[in-house]
């Protein structure tokens, strides 16, 4: 008659290993279906489906637009007792500007030319004689914005020596100007020195002609670059969707706790089935959303409108295997992070409490995101190879490596096996935390309490 053994915490009557039987599988699907249908019908789903691509393409087009727009002139005052220096500097700066525009135009005309050249701001130099009130005048000009910076040139006491030059920019964000000015000044000074030593101006010009490196790529450079863009966009989408829907899982568990529905549910089905159903349901919504975006992008890029809108630069260069890898790693990543989110949801009682804990979810994701730069330049570096095998980072990093780098076959297989295994462990632990946690209300559990929950079945 006794269904539970006496004086011990482990009940005999209940199996401690979650067994997937036909009955509970049916319940998992019922829960998932409900979750999916309720979510897909909401206005929130419609809004994020439309808004996120709009915002993202807004960023892309916005940066292209900003990049192609001609920036305003930059005014620099040159304070020097030698007015010739300022004139030479202006001539040198203009020459450079002209050179850049020429080469950019050439690149755009060539068939492999990638991005449209960014127009440089023109630097205009004004010569000034140093006087007693010069500094204060310059200062007020800087403050009013009439001036973007000034050079103070003090000639060396010894004739033929190098003058001391100080640059005062209006804002610290003008490092680019500083470099340009330093380069140009260097050229001017060299030219001057050469002149002093009797070199003819024409000779000096040819001596100072910059070396042009003709670059050629083994692979089709533009295809590679647009693959990089597409994969990076998908990387970002994966990051965003995992984060968004992971939090959705946690939030919906808290919602069930506050609406007390879970007590009805727990009197009917296993907590594990409830959790699994929720994760599958919410995950399917995420997949649907990504699917809609992918389909829309493919349609757009195939149609003439896409080409009209984005030009060559935005055309989608994804191979079938890249899409398959995306889906595989997306599913792995979602399962990994949403089961952690489920545990967080089960441990907390309100959104506010969740927000204190959600760094466990966000930090590893953010770390992946910060790796993006390294990955783009060196997808097969040791750091990338090691991190891509660490389960919390695998979904995003290995996806990136597999799409753009050259991981060995065993690395891909190992990453999938390791992540799947750790998902099993996390789901096991989470379902235990969930089982006890959903019935808890009041205070948030401490770490030892959570560890105790793991032993409780």
């Amino acid at each position: 008659m006794a269904s539970f053994c006496t004086n011990c915490s482990k009940p005999k009557g209940v199996t401690s290993v979650p067994r997937i039987r036909a009955a509970s599988l049916r319940n998992v699907l019922l829960i998932a279906r409900r979750e999916y249908r309720e979510r897909i019908r909401t206005r929130g789903f419609l809004i994020t489906t439309i808004m996120i691509p709009l915002i993202m393409s807004g960023f892309i087009f916005g940066s292209i637009f900003l990049g192609s727009r001609a920036p305003g002139d930059i005014h620099i005052a040159v304070v020097s007792s030698d007015p010739q220096l300022a004139l030479d500097l202006q001539a040198e700066l203009d020459r450079r500007q002209q050179q850049q525009e020429d080469s950019a135009a050439a690149a755009q005309e060539s068939p492999t030319g990638a991005s449209p050249a960014k127009k440089q701001a023109r630097i205009i130099v004004e010569a000034m004689q140093p006087g007693p009130g010069t500094r204060t005048e310059l200062k007020s000009n800087l403050e009013s914005g009439d001036l973007d910076g000034y050079l103070w040139i003090t000639p060396d006491a010894a004739p033929g020596g190098r003058p001391a030059i100080a640059f005062t920019p209006r804002s610290s964000g003008q490092a680019g100007i500083k470099n340009t000015l330093a380069d140009a000044l260097g050229q001017v000074l060299i030219r001057e020195q050469l002149g002093h030593r009797g070199v003819a101006a024409a000779d000096a010009d040819s001596m100072l002609q910059p070396v042009t490196l003709a670059t050629s790529h083994g692979l089709d450079h533009s295809a590679h670059e647009s693959a990089e863009i597409s994969v990076s966009v998908l990387f970002f989408v994966m990051y965003l969707v995992i984060m968004l829907y992971g939090m959705n899982v946690a939030r919906s568990i808290i919602e069930e706790k506050t609406s007390r529905i879970f007590e009805v549910m727990l009197a009917t089905i296993r907590p594990e089935a409830m959790m699994a159903g929720k994760i599958i349901g919410v995950g399917s919504v995420g997949l649907t959303q990504v699917g809609i975006w992918l389909a829309a992008v493919l349609l757009l890029s195939a149609s003439s409108m896409g080409i009209h809108l984005g030009g060559d630069t935005l055309h989608v260069a994804l191979t079938g295997s890249q899409v398959v890898y995306f889906l595989v790693y997306f599913i792995l990543g979602f399962a990994f992070y949403s089961s952690i989110a489920a545990a967080l949801g089960a441990m907390t009682n309100s959104e506010q409490e969740l927000q204190q804990l959600n760094m466990f979810l966000l930090l590893p994701l953010l770390a992946c995101f910060l790796m993006l730069g390294t990955l783009l330049t060196t997808p097969d570096s040791t750091l990338a190879r090691v991190l891509a095998l660490v389960p919390p980072f695998t979904p995003l990093l290995m996806y990136f490596r597999v799409s753009l780098g050259h991981p060995a076959g065993w690395e891909v297989v190992l990453s999938i096996v390791l992540t799947s295994a750790s998902i099993c462990v996390i789901v096991w632990a989470t379902s235990r935390i969930y089982r006890v946690g959903v019935l808890m209300y009041g205070k948030r559990p401490s770490l030892p309490e959570i560890l105790r929950w793991l032993k409780y079945s």
Binding site: S3, R34, E263, R270
Partner: protein, 323 residues
């Protein structure tokens, strides 16, 4: 064979003992009252019965066998803390909950409709749950509990927040189900609401059993020394020496007579005295109510000098009688 049996069950949450050495059995086809004040361990006992939690020691059996998940499809549970998916359409919600209990979608839909007709709430079906009044949500939850035609129906505080008309509608439904052979477990602190209907009861206080048995036997073991009288006129008869205590209301008194070998004679004497002074519109003799029995029992079982519990009880007494 009892439907539910608790055998020396004990449940402790962190520092608080929720249930201590609790044993009782619920026989099939009966209406069982699990009664006690708030926080006495009723919900904890129920959660152990249906496997939401496990007893720390002792045992719980369901349908004559150790707890097994598959038994849950034979149980309908209305939790004290009601819960429905707020944003979900009522009809979809009922079908979903029915399907979780292994009904097919079409059967669940048909039953949801017929139950809603029976409980006069069909207009709620197309609405969102959050748009319903609290009482209507409760009726929907009640239907969700019964949709899969459970053999054991567990109702935790089923009438809290319901108006009298709807409360009696639900009570009638439960009585009908009991007549059809279902077992009903009532858990409530409102003892007055269920004492007329329960076949058997268990009274618990602070996680411990105070009293259990059949309602009829418990009542029979108490003298019929309570008199409820409604009158109009002089109340001098209320000063009779046979009266141990009384509560006065406007035109009404609840009287407890002193213990006596000739209680029946004392009652008649009281009636005669009352008739001499006033116009009597109601005169009723009864056993103590379940609440009175409960308070008496708890007081008996109290250890000496337990001022805190005594204070608690006096407060409880006030609220019970005042209600």
């Amino acid at each position: 064979m009892p439907i539910v049996q608790l055998h020396h069950a004990r449940k402790v949450y962190d520092a608080k003992v929720a249930v201590e050495d609790l044993s009782f059995a619920i026989e099939p086809g009966t209406m069982f009252g699990l009664l006690g004040p708030n926080g006495s361990g009723k919900t904890s006992s129920i959660r152990m019965m249906i496997g939401i939690t496990m007893p720390d020691s002792g045992s719980v059996s369901l349908f004559g066998q150790p707890f097994a998940r598959k038994s849950l499809s034979r149980v309908g549970y209305l939790p004290e803390e009601r819960g429905l998916y707020k944003k979900m359409n009522v009809f979809d919600q009922l079908v979903f909950l029915g399907r979780l209990h292994y009904l097919s979608a079409s059967v669940a839909a048909a039953r949801a409709r017929s139950w809603c007709e029976k409980l006069k709430i069909t207009e709620a079906l197309p609405k969102k749950t959050e748009d319903l009044s609290k009482g209507m949500q409760q009726k929907i939850q009640f239907i969700a509990t019964l949709l899969h035609d459970p053999e054991l129906i567990i109702m935790d505080e089923p009438f809290s927040g319901l108006d009298p008309v709807n409360a009696s509608l639900l009570m009638d439904t439960l009585l009908e189900l009991r007549r059809e052979g279902r077992t009903v477990l009532f858990s409530t602190h409102r003892m007055d609401q269920v004492e007329r209907f329960c076949d058997n009861i268990a009274l618990i206080h602070r996680g411990q059993l105070v009293l259990k048995g059949s309602m009829a036997a418990i009542k029979a073991s108490y003298p019929r020394n309570r008199v409820h009288i409604s009158f109009d006129g002089d109340d001098a008869f209320l000063r009779s020496p046979n009266i141990e205590s009384l509560k006065r209301y406007n035109g009404h008194a609840d009287i407890k007579l002193r213990p006596s070998a000739m209680l029946a004679d004392d009652v008649q004497a009281l009636l005669a005295a009352a008739l001499r002074h006033a116009r009597i519109t109601r005169f009723e003799v009864s056993e103590p109510t379940l609440e009175e029995i409960f308070i008496e029992k708890v007081r008996e079982s109290l250890p000496e000098n337990n001022g805190l519990i005594l204070h608690e009880l006096q407060q409880a007494e006030g609220s019970y009688f005042g209600a």
